[in-house]
Structures are given as structure tokens and as C-alpha cells.
């Protein structure tokens, strides 16, 4: 027996209308929860973007002047590769640096347009043999400071320390809040559905008497929870989108924070995850409610 689509749509909608206040409360809680979840996801991406240069065990980078001579570059390469402290040296050309730059500033086409490969510094990214030998690595890196043709030397440790000290606590707080709120959102949806079941207990009794299948009784109630979760997620998606645009506009001209901007692709991914999580919270809450109070 197929479930009658019209019946299910009507029942789902009627239930939502019957418990307007509870529905609004559930939707808003889901929305706040998912804004926080979305924020956490965005922050993780931002930190990922900001530390992109330091992936794969790279501990420091020697940046050459954009106009450094070939001899100057080769001298640096020779010294790095001959050092016993070094495991691997990766050369990032001006063109590659430009690609990296474009990737980093996907969200800000103005900035990408203002830059061309010739003005960017090529660099040597260094993976040390022993990443725990911080003193040795530090000393090796410092040797290149102030040499002709060298723009600057940057250390992963410094960047990571800065990033983690500025974002770690925020991320932790937001994550804990999101977890707590996910729980309350689920409980609120559970409660709304339990109320709907209570309001319809006579109907449900008759349905059982005349031989309605369990799924026929369950589906409108579970859809109701899912609709609430999705509605909350849609509100949250708007919130996440606005938040990202607002933060981007604040940091786009800041050297340090500018590294953190999140691309449109990253935002889309976050919104999709927020929507999926909304549907998940709603369905889970109603499934628990149906299980506990329906006994079917």
C-alpha cells in the first residue's frame, strides 16, 4: 500500500499549524544552533586557509625578493639542500605563488585583479628532518635574514601560534555552545512532536484500531519534525551567509586577518552541511518522540 501523498502533506501541515508556538520555538532553537555550527565550520575553513602555506610539515619559508637574481636564489637552494637538518625543500615560483594567492583570495576578485605574478615573491618552503628540533630549525632559518635578494623568513611556529592564540578559544566556546544547543534543539522538537501526538491521541487510537500501518501513523509526524529542522536550517543558512559577508568586509584590508577569508565554495559547503544537519536534528527528535509516545 502506498502512502497517500495528499493525506501526509495535509496532516503534516495541520500539525505544524496546531502547535504554532512550539513550532516557532523549535525552529528558532534549530536556527540559533545551526548558526553556531555554521560559524564553527567557517572558522575551521578560515584557519585552514590561513595556515595553507604550512601544510605538509613545512616549518619555515625563505621568501626571495621578486627581483632576486638567479645566483642569489641558487645560493639559498644549495645551502638549504646541503644542510643535514633539512629533509625536503620545495620551490614555489612566482606563478605558483600567484595561484596560491588567487586561491586564498577567491572571495575578493578585486584583490586578485590588483596583483600579478611579477610582484609576488618566490619562496623556498623547508621541511626539516626533525620537526621537534626547534632550536636548530630556528637557527637555520635566521641565517638567511638580511642576505641580499632575500625578502624575509617566516616560521610556521609563529603563524600557527598567532592563529591558534587568536582563534582557538573562540572555536572551543562556539563548539561547546553548538553541541549544547544541538541537544536542546533536538529535545524541543521531540517535545513538539510529543505534543502533536498527545493532541491526536484519539485519531491515532482509531488509526491503530482500523489497521493503519505504523509507517502511515509515523510518517506525517516525522515529516513535521523534519520540516521544523529544515526551516531552522534555512534561517541559519541566511545567518551564516550574512555573517561571512560581514566578517569578510571587515577583514579584507587587514594583513593578518585577511588570510582568513572564506571562499564562496567554502560558504556553499557550509550551507549544505547546515541544511543537512537541520533535517537530521528534526528527524532525530521526531523519531525519538514517535518511538517513546506512540508505541507503534
Amino acid at each position: 500500500m502506498a502512502l497517500n501523498a495528499e493525506y501526509i502533506a495535509r496532516e503534516t501541515f495541520l500539525n505544524l499549524r496546531r502547535n504554532v508556538l512550539m513550532t516557532v520555538a523549535s525552529v528558532l532553537t534549530v536556527a540559533v544552533t545551526l548558526v553556531l555550527v555554521g560559524t564553527t565550520l567557517l572558522m575551521r575553513q578560515a584557519v585552514g586557509n590561513a595556515t595553507q602555506q604550512w601544510k605538509g610539515g613545512i616549518e619555515f619559508a625563505v621568501w626571495l625578493q621578486p627581483d632576486a637574481s638567479e645566483a642569489e636564489a641558487e645560493a639559498v637552494a644549495a645551502e638549504l639542500t646541503s644542510s643535514p637538518l633539512v629533509d625536503e625543500v620545495q620551490f614555489v615560483s612566482q606563478q605558483e605563488a600567484f595561484e596560491e594567492f588567487k586561491d586564498l583570495f577567491r572571495g575578493s576578485p578585486d584583490m586578485v585583479a590588483a596583483v600579478n605574478p611579477e610582484v609576488l615573491p618566490p619562496s623556498y618552503r623547508v621541511v626539516p628532518a626533525d620537526p621537534d628540533d626547534t632550536e636548530g630549525i630556528d637557527a637555520l632559518g635566521q641565517r638567511f635574514h638580511g642576505r641580499p635578494g632575500i625578502y624575509e623568513v617566516t616560521f610556521a611556529k609563529d603563524a600557527a601560534d598567532a592563529i591558534i592564540s587568536r582563534t582557538g578559544v573562540i572555536q572551543g566556546v562556539v563548539l561547546v555552545a553548538a553541541l549544547g544547543l544541538t541537544f536542546s534543539a533536538t529535545v524541543l522538537i521531540l517535545n513538539t512532536i510529543a505534543l502533536a501526538i498527545h493532541a491526536r491521541r484519539r485519531e491515532i487510537e482509531v488509526m491503530k484500531l482500523v489497521g493503519a500501518t505504523n509507517w502511515f501513523i509515523r510518517v506525517p509526524l516525522m515529516l513535521e519534525g523534519m520540516v521544523q529542522g529544515m526551516a531552522g536550517a534555512v534561517v541559519a543558512s541566511g545567518g551564516v551567509w550574512a555573517l561571512r559577508n560581514w566578517v569578510s568586509s571587515l577583514v579584507e584590508n587587514n594583513d593578518f586577518w585577511g588570510q582568513f577569508s572564506v571562499s564562496d565554495g567554502g560558504l556553499t559547503l557550509t550551507v549544505v552541511m547546515v541544511l543537512a544537519m537541520g533535517a537530521g536534528i528534526g528527524t532525530l527528535g521526531s523519531a525519538i518522540a514517535v518511538r517513546r509516545s506512540l508505541n507503534v
Binding site: 482509531v206 489497521g211 493503519a212
Partner: protein, 270 residues
Amino acid sequence: MSVGGRSQRFRRQPVRFLHKRAGNDSATGTAHGHIHQSSALRAPLIRLDHVTKTFKGDVVALSDVCADIEKGEFVFLVGPSGSGKSTLLHLVHKEDEPDRGTIHVAGKEIGAMTRWRVPYLRRNIGNVYQDFKLLPNKTVYENVAFALEVIGRPKQVIRTQVPAILDLVGLAEKLHRYPHELSGGEQQRVSVARAFVNRPLILLADEPTGNLDPQTSVGIMRLLDRINRTGTTVVMATHDETIVNSMRRRVIELSGGRVIRDQHRGEYGG
């Protein structure tokens, strides 16, 4: 034949419906296909085999009850309150499980039935209660239509079946009334219509006249009798001595959960 022309119309359908389910069980298939013809192969429609049910460990509701009820029978369950009548009806409807013993309905052992099959069992069993169990915020029509809707019957079927069955029970003029606008007897007719609209094999009635005055009760009994004459087996638990004595049908008397009398064409007190 005392069934009027209108009822004749209803009669065709149960037979066809039963033929459809008969395929995998030749014994019951024969019984169902030819409802007035007795056959040596025929299994009873309801078979209770040494059924025992206790509540909270020591309250005995049914004790070693055996009974066979044939297709098309009309059976009264009598006995004092607490003698196990309602429990017996609940067990046949699989709202509860016996502690010991087996129950067969239409040749199938319902104790072995998986949970998801239970709704399909119940579609073959109509139920009428003392308190009607109508939905107060739905009209007469909607109450009956609801029973078909929630088992997924198509709209066209609902649109033709519901007015027809309400005509049969004599409520053709009151389709759009709400239950609170009806008398007790009329409400019970709605609940009988709801129980019968899906052409069940069996109609279980638990004190259907318990809330009605004697005259109204007679009307309800006429209705149940007519339904019985279409081939539907009726099992009715009752306290009403007058009704049992005037109908002269099979009487199963329970006392303390035991069958103390099972008599054809019986009276209330043996």
C-alpha cells in the same frame, strides 16, 4: 432471505474480497469462497486453543479457553464484569498477547505474526465499542472516511463506499453532522458503519448497547444482524439479557476466565 435489496448489494463484495486472500490457503479458501456451504476441510474462522491470560502475574482474565467460531456465525459472549469477555476480544484483535495457548484467525496463528502484519489482520476485523470511539472534530462522513483513508484506500472508493454504508445504517440524512449532534444510538450506528465499511471478515462488538436505552439497542441489534447475514462473523460481548434471549444465537458464557457454557441458540442464563 430477510436481507433487503440494499444489503444484497453489499453482499457481493465480501465474497470477492475473500477470494483474493484465499490463494495461499486452500482450506480457508474453500470456506471463504462459499460462505454458506459447509465443507469437511473448512477450518474455523476463529480458533482459541487453550488460551490463558493473566494480568500483573495473578489476576486471571482467561484460563484455558477453547472455542471455535465458524465463518458467518453470530456469537454472544456473556458473563459478569471481569469474566474475561473484553480480554478475549482484545486477544483476537491482537491488542494483547496470551500467556499460553494459540489463537488462529482465518487459518493463521496470530501469535506468530510479525508486528508489521498486525495492521493487515486488523483490516479484516471491525470493532464496535460501548463508548463509540468517534472523533469529535470530524463529521459522520469524515469519521467513516477516515477509517478508509488511513488504510490507504483510493479516494474514488471512499467517495462511493462511505455514503453507501451510511445509507445502510440509516444515517444518509446526517452525513455532515458532528457526533455531539447525534443521539447515542446514531453515534453507535456511525461506529458500526466505520467498523463495517471495509467489509471485514469479523466484527467484534464490546458491549455495543451498554450505553443505549432498550429501544435504541434493538435498532443496533437489527443492524448487527443484517451485517451478520452478509456473511460477516459477529462476536459480541454483552450484559443485556433481553437481547441475548430474543436473538437466540450461540452463547459462550465466561466466568472467572473459564468457559462454563457454549450453547447453540442459547439464552443469557443457561
